[in-house]
């Protein structure tokens, strides 16, 4: 495979292709039916309540948005940092990012108490609100990706590729910072009030986005009968391994800085002492299943050259990432707000106790709708546009 002659082609629209689209459409429709029911009944049919106000939908939505930003990694590495091996994959990187972002945004909108007021959300802005800024950042990224893809598709515009790539890179870094800041700005909440939230979200985006990219690429190649060379696959896997380690490092730094401040000891114990559900999810899910196990698969001599291990590892990173989002979003709310430091509080409004949260089927449907939308857009894009290179096999060794 040589870069200059990369030829792209759409996925063949055979039986399998339409079948996959139909299945995904079914998922989205089922989710939408769930949304209509939720919208009709109100949120009491979900597990969300006045203590845990953001639930499973937000876990999925934030994951998808963060992963979308990270899915652009490959494009940035190719177009900004000039790594030739990734250049053929830049188109897929852009498409996947736009698709995941759309899926995440759809969940956020569908979960609103008044989704019918989307127009209000787009016409009334409070510029002090980081949430309002994020609405701009998200829609802006879609536009930036559209420009980037347009440039990639026009050989005549090749000299603009780097500029468009830089634009996309900067935009997504700001976007992920903004997403992290949604939580970082919540000064009153023990688990969130930390400046490290923003960089943590950036590095999480690299990890989750690369994992999703790797799996989608492998699936698309397999489904369309293309050969995905070991060199490329393992290169992506090695990149993912670095990101997974970096997330682990940042999580460590976050908890260590928190432990330094005595006022945060209560929350830290809640996440670290292995007693609460969130602590178990943290250690077993986020750290064990989502970080250490994939790292072992990626690095250990027995499995590091095994394709299946790479794919399993990437899947684990995604599962671990969702669990990490759960710990951050739900755990941060379940831990009681402290009104009187050092005192015991009680009330009819669950002061002083860990809030309960039992998600219902309706919230999962919302979350899965977003995933479905992301995948359907990806598959449709691959079928309609020349996104995927015809040949991704390893280059012949130089003789």
């Amino acid at each position: 495979m040589s870069i200059a002659s990369t030829r792209y082609a759409t996925l063949d629209a055979g039986r399998n292709y339409w079948g996959l689209l139909a299945v995904l459409a079914g998922v989205v429709l089922a989710g939408f039916a769930g949304f209509l029911h939720l919208e009709h009944e109100g949120h009491w049919i979900t597990g969300m309540n006045n203590q845990v106000v953001w639930g499973i939908p937000h876990v999925f939505a934030v994951f998808l948005i963060v992963a979308a930003s990270g899915a652009l990694n490959v494009a940035s590495i190719a177009s900004v940092f000039g790594q030739a091996a990734y250049k053929p994959l830049a188109r897929l990187s852009g498409l996947l990012a736009a698709a995941l972002l759309s899926g995440g945004l759809a969940i956020l909108v569908l979960d609103l108490g008044r989704p019918d007021r989307l127009i209000v959300a787009m016409t009334y802005y409070n510029f002090k609100s980081i949430f309002a800024w994020n609405i701009f950042l998200y829609t802006g990224l879609l536009a930036v990706i559209a420009v980037y893809l347009f440039v990639l598709f026009q050989p005549a515009l090749a000299r603009w590729t780097r500029a468009a790539g830089i634009m996309a890179l900067l935009w997504r870094l700001i976007l992920t910072t903004g997403t992290g800041a949604i939580f970082g700005f919540l000064v009153a909440r023990q688990g969130y009030d930390a400046a490290i939230m923003a960089p943590l979200f950036i590095i999480m985006s690299f990890s989750f986005g690369t994992a999703v990219f790797l799996l989608v690429l492998a699936a698309a190649c397999r489904g369309s009968g293309r050969v995905l060379g070991d060199a490329l696959l393992f290169r992506l896997k090695n990149l993912l391994a670095v990101f997974v380690s970096a997330v682990l490092y940042f999580v460590l730094a976050y908890h260590l800085t928190n432990l330094y401040a005595t006022e945060h000891h209560g929350f830290e114990a809640f996440i670290l002492n292995f007693e609460s559900l969130y602590s178990k999810l943290f250690w077993l899910g986020q750290v064990g299943l989502g970080s250490l196990l994939p790292l072992a698969l990626f690095y250990s001599p027995k499995t590091r050259n095994c394709r299946v291990s790479a794919l399993v590892g990437a899947s684990l990173v995604i599962i671990g990432g969702l669990i990490q989002m759960y710990v951050i979003i739900i755990g941060g709310q379940a831990y009681p707000l402290i009104l009187f430091p050092g005192m015991e509080e009680s009330s009819s409004f669950f002061d002083g106790v860990v809030a309960s949260y039992v998600p219902s089927i309706w919230e999962f449907l919302l979350g899965i709708t977003g995933v479905g939308i992301g995948l359907i857009l990806t598959v449709a894009g691959l079928g309609a546009l020349d996104i995927l290179p015809e040949d991704l096999s390893d280059p012949e060794p130089a003789s």
Partner: protein
């Protein structure tokens, strides 16, 4: 200074209409309902925790009735604008009981984070949610340090004209803005507390040095809950 002017105008207006003393600290002003809301006043509440009784729920019941907040038997999602909070010091075991509601912050985090500006603070210090522009994102609930807000999780019936509410929006204590604007100069909770003979809640103008609430704060002092956050709350507590 324009502020002085508005203030004088306001006092003159109130004086001309005349004030009727209902009970100590409770006045009835026949105020012009069309008069603009200005920052000449800052409405606030003062709670004396020494007087507040642990087994008394009068303020909560009065608020629920005033705004027709119904008990649907789902405590986790039922709206609570005001709740009784019991606080116990593990050292020695002293307990106090106090009403907790929206603290009507001067620098309200709920207003800062609201994407549409639905969460807003009136010039006179009352923090409200505009039910026409709230999209139900609940970011304000994440941001409020006092857990003062409730999301409406279901369809509501039998609403009162003075307290419009609706599924999918967020709401919180309005400091009985309908009463304040009608010149009643009190809130349902303060009224109920007085009626029960406890007089633990006092409503008044924090800007007027001659108001009962200002005098009491001057004489006995009062604290803000989570004063460290620098929100300058309109609800103050004594004997915490």
């Amino acid at each position: 200074m324009s502020l002085d002017l508005t203030r004088r105008e306001f006092l003159q207006g109130a004086g001309a209409a005349g004030a009727l003393t209902l009970a100590p600290g409770v006045f009835l002003y026949a105020k012009d309902p069309e008069a603009p809301v200005t920052d000449a006043v800052r409405w606030g509440l003062l709670v004396d925790t020494q007087v507040c009784q642990e087994d008394c729920n009068a303020c909560v019941d009065a608020c629920n009735e005033e705004h027709n907040l119904q008990d649907l038997g789902r405590p986790e999602t039922d709206a609570q604008w005001i709740r009784k909070l019991n606080v116990r010091d593990p050292l020695g075991g002293r307990t106090i009981s106090l009403p907790m509601m929206c603290q009507h912050c001067e620098n309200p985090p709920c207003v800062d984070v609201c994407p549409t500006g639905a969460s807003f603070r009136r010039e006179d210090g009352i923090v409200l949610v505009d039910k026409h522009t709230c999209i139900g994102c609940r970011y304000c609930m994440m941001a409020c340090p006092y857990k003062a807000r409730s999301f409406i999780h279901e369809n509501l019936t039998e609403q009162l004209p003075d307290a419009p509410r609706g599924k999918g929006c967020v709401e919180s204590c309005t400091m009985c803005v309908h009463k304040v604007d009608a010149g009643e100069n009190t809130t349902a909770c303060a009224e109920a507390c007085h009626k029960d003979g406890h007089q633990a809640i006092l409503f008044g103008d924090l800007n007027d040095p001659d108001s009962e609430i200002s005098k009491r704060i001057r004489e006995f002092g009062a604290t803000q809950i989570r004063a460290d956050l620098g929100l300058n709350t309109g609800v103050r507590y004594q004997n915490l």
